[in-house]
Amino acid sequence: MYMIETKNLTKKFGKLTVFEGLNVTVKKGEVLVIIGPSGSGKSTFLRCLNHLEVPNDGEVFIEGEKIDIKNKKHMRNTIEKVGMVFQNFNLFHHMTVMQNVIEAPITVKHETREEVLERSKIIIDKVGLKEKVDEYPSKLSGGQKQRVAIARSLAMRPDIMLFDEPTSSLDPELVGEVLGVMKDLAKEGMTMVVVTHEMGFAKDVADRVIFMDGGKIVEEGTPEELFMAPKERRTREFLNKVL
């Protein structure tokens, strides 16, 4: 059984077809990195995996369970297993770091405050923000915000983590601290799908890389195959530009 499986996934915005008939699978513990130029549909594809964008056609299976938008409760329970980290963090502005992290397990999973607090302290410590537990997000740097966002997702004990350009809105000197946390997660065996422009991260951490362009999967393979010996002309052109 795959952790994520898409069958014939299609997304359109009005008349514009973002992508069509995508079939992608992700195995347990695998780190899949999706690269490609802006407008290639990679972020939209990622957002379809937890139905932040509802696909026009095709299906998404999470650990074998089909995401069914007609059954809201079942859909929420399925999406719960998938954590997501956004480009713009989307932390809850009116809550402190700790409140951000404990909110979802208490509200969504109805866990007791005590057990969530204990776990959250460990998670916040892990992302290196022990001193910031009582700060509001507005007092944090971008890198710190993104690490809180990761901690918030982890508090739900997800089986899969999706990253939507997690470092794209960060100052260059803050990128490293976020990638570091992501590397640690990968090492621990988290199943991850990462849309990013960080080629270094893709080379070091990915088990498999997909290159998307114009809504199509142009090429996929191990980082060695894709970065060292790209088969497709378009892949080579893209890599020449970004590397």
Binding site: I79, E80, V82, H93, H94, T107, P137
Partner: protein, 215 residues
């Protein structure tokens, strides 16, 4: 102005302003609740519910409150609904306030960052929890200056219930001025009491505004 007459008038008018405050607080609280529900209905995908909510705000924002109060007080008895002046005042003021609050709250919800909804969805929140835990608390911060404004407008608009025999400050002042032939004293005190009340509420609201600006 005669100080001794003012001394006699003051306790009567003070009593009237207690009723003014009571009417204001109750109707703004009820109006806020009505406003939240109406705003959510107006934003919902259900066309029928959105239509009903839209009709309500259209009626209550589009007609004078004086007309609404008179309608509730003098017209409802014809269809067999008998309400005391106090009940009429509360219903009239709350429904009117609710219509304005609905628009304030709707605007507030619309200005909450879309990413907040997405974060909630990705974490498995229900619509109800998303609103209760994340969106409405943030909306509250955004709308607090407008709510303060609405509160003060409402406080002054309660003077309209004098037309349906409620003895709040304004009506008390009218009665006193008529019975003593001293309009100057009566309305001067009434004006001071209104200013005093609006100043207190303005201060309370700016205190909350400051308190919420920590994030």
């Amino acid at each position: 102005m005669d100080i001794s007459i003012m001394k006699e008038m003051f306790p009567v008018l003070l009593q009237g302003s207690l009723l003014t405050i009571e009417l204001t607080i109750i109707s703004v609280i009820l109006g806020t609740l009505i406003g939240i529900v109406t705003a959510l209905l107006k934003l919902s995908k259900n066309k029928l519910m959105a239509g009903v909510a839209g009709f309500y705000t259209w009626i209550f924002r589009g007609t004078p409150m004086l007309l609404q109060l008179i309608a509730f007080y003098y017209v409802l008895p014809f269809v067999g609904v008998l309400l005391s002046p106090f009940q009429t005042a509360i219903i009239g003021l709350s429904l009117n306030s609710g219509a304005y609050m609905a628009e304030i709250i709707r605007g507030g919800i619309l200005s909450v960052d879309k990413g907040q909804f997405e974060a909630c969805k990705s974490l498995g929140f229900t619509y109800f929890d998303t609103m209760k835990r994340v969106v409405l608390p943030q909306t509250f911060k955004i709308i607090i200056p407008s709510v303060g404004n609405e509160f003060i407008t409402m406080l002054k608009d309660t003077s309209l219930v004098s037309t349906i025999t409620m003895s709040e400050v304004m009506r008390k002042a009218q009665i006193l001025s008529a019975s003593t032939f001293r309009p100057m004293e009566a309305f001067f005190i009434a004006g001071c009491l209104y200013l005093f009340m609006t100043t207190i509420f303005t201060t309370v609201f700016s205190h909350y505004e400051k308190k919420l600006s920590v994030y």
